[in-house]
């Protein structure tokens, strides 16, 4: 989760909404990403989408069974859909997103996916909050 947070900080530096994500298999990072919606001019370029894409490229296959995704912010509905398709085993997220997070809508992940939330929640939330506070100035 520290690594995911560090990725989020890179996004922050690049004036992107600070979210970072990584995919881990057997203790090894096989895919990572941070939010790049501004630079790539692509509103779908969320951290999770890039991490999943990189991981499946690494594995050379469609599914991320036995893998875990760590992300600093609760995934949105699109990324939850992406996680469903990737059949990921575990999802760990830091801060909850009470507006856009997938748990606010009746969207389900793959039945095999276990969800753990609130990891380093304070740090993850503080980063996003300070980003938006700075923007509003």
């Amino acid at each position: 989760m520290w690594q995911a947070l560090n990725l989020a900080k890179v996004a922050y530096e690049e004036d992107e909404v600070p979210v970072g994500a990584l995919v881990v298999l057997d203790g090894e990072v096989i895919g990572k990403g941070y939010n790049l919606t501004e630079r790539l001019r692509d509103v779908t370029a969320h951290a999770e989408m890039q991490a999943i894409t990189a991981a499946s490229e690494y594995l050379g296959g469609k599914y991320l069974e036995y893998c875990s995704l760590y992300v600093t912010l609760e995934p949105c509905t699109m990324c939850a859909g992406a996680l469903y398709w990737s059949r990921i085993s575990e999802l760990y997220y830091g801060a909850s997103d009470f507006k856009h997070g997938f748990t606010n809508y009746c969207v389900s992940l793959h039945p095999k996916t276990k969800v753990y939330k609130g990891l380093m929640e304070k740090e993850c939330l503080a980063l996003v909050q300070s980003f938006f506070e700075e923007r509003r100035k």
């Binding site: 790049l36 630079r39 790539l40 001019r41 692509d42 509103v43 779908t44 370029a45 989408m49 890039q50 999943i52 894409t53 499946s56 490229e57 050379g60 296959g61 469609k62 599914y63 991320l64 949105c76 509905t77 699109m78 990324c79 939850a80 859909g81 992406a82 469903y84 398709w85 990737s86 507006k99 606010n104 809508y105 009746c106 969207v107």
Partner: protein, 315 residues
């Protein structure tokens, strides 16, 4: 309604489709018609209609010796009900209130209106746009031809994908004002990219057309196209979202991920052919009109459905 091979059908929010729901309210009889306006005045002071604005306050009674019935109060909790009933007790010329079933919310379509007035007279302001979607007369003949043409392109792309061992889903993104095709895509998930559904590829190609994009596509997947930036029409300004004002044509109903990507990219309208049990634009969810999302869009299904359904015969 148009018949034949093109039968485009709007996928409306549940509120337009649902049956009329009812609630109990206190009503009372008025035996002398001449007293009505005074009673109404007193009632509107003591207990305004509030969330029952859609109800007409008075109706002609069906019973012989009682000319009129009036809505008094919507029950809240025993204590406040008691207080209201106590307060209206002294209104002259009005009988003792009793409970009656009335429509709980305003009707949004003519069908709901006709159903609602069986319970109690209601106000109805017909939304012309919704009405034409319900009746199937929303599009002009020329628009039907355009829809058919673009869905035909999506079908061709689905078959290109199929020939390359992919799931046969094709997607086309069009600027309906300039009639320029912005992106042509097909599904790539069987190529080892779990997220590269046809719609996601199409949206990413739009980002490519604007000098961005998340994915680099393998050259073996020819047929994927996007309009180059220099030929972009000026109607799309850079401050707008990815797909603002654009239409998507896709052979099969998009999934949750793809539908949400369309919300994020602010698509204008979506046309699809075949429905899918897990689909998120009508079948399992209605992402395009989900409350709480920051963008909503119109969805039409059944475009060239005979042909699109044939792509998924073996499912």
């Amino acid at each position: 309604m148009r018949t034949g091979r093109l039968q485009v059908q709007a996928v409306l929010a549940d509120k337009f489709i649902k049956n009329v729901d009812t609630c109990n309210v206190f009503v009372a009889n008025i035996s002398d018609k001449k007293q009505t306006s005074r009673i109404m005045r007193q009632l509107s002071e003591l207990c305004p209609l509030e969330e029952l604005q859609h109800l007409k306050r008075v109706r002609a009674s069906k019973e012989k010796d009682v000319p009129l019935q009036v809505v008094v109060h919507k029950p809240l909790d025993p204590d406040s009900d008691q207080a209201v009933l106590e307060a209206v007790k002294n209104i002259e010329g009005m009988g003792k209130p009793y409970l009656l079933k009335v429509p709980a919310s305003p009707p949004l379509t003519r069908r709901q209106y006709n159903e609602a007035i069986k319970y109690w007279p209601v106000n109805f302001h017909e939304d012309k746009e919704i009405a034409s979607m319900v009746s199937g007369n929303y599009f002009t003949e020329a628009e039907h031809l355009d829809i058919e043409q673009y869905m035909g392109m999506a079908l061709k792309l689905a078959n290109i994908g199929k020939a390359k061992g992919q799931i046969p889903i094709g997607a086309v993104i069009v600027n309906p004002v300039s009639k320029k095709v912005i992106a042509e895509a097909y599904d790539l998930r069987q190529a080892g990219y779990p997220l590269q559904h046809a719609v996601m590829v199409a949206v990413d190609l739009v980002a490519h057309s604007q000098g961005g994009g998340m994915w680099n596509f393998d050259e073996t997947f020819n047929g994927l196209k996007f309009l180059e930036v220099n030929s972009m029409d000026s109607s799309q300004s850079s401050c707008e979202y990815l797909c603002t004002g654009y239409d998507l044509y896709v052979t099969q109903e998009p999934c949750v991920m793809c539908s949400m990507a369309l919300v994020h990219s602010r698509i204008g309208r979506v046309f699809y052919g075949a429905s899918h049990p897990g689909g998120a634009l009508g079948s399992s969810y209605k992402v395009h009109c989900q409350q709480g999302f920051n963008h909503h869009f119109l969805v039409f299904k059944g475009c060239l459905q005979e042909q699109t359904d044939r792509l998924y015969d073996n499912r």
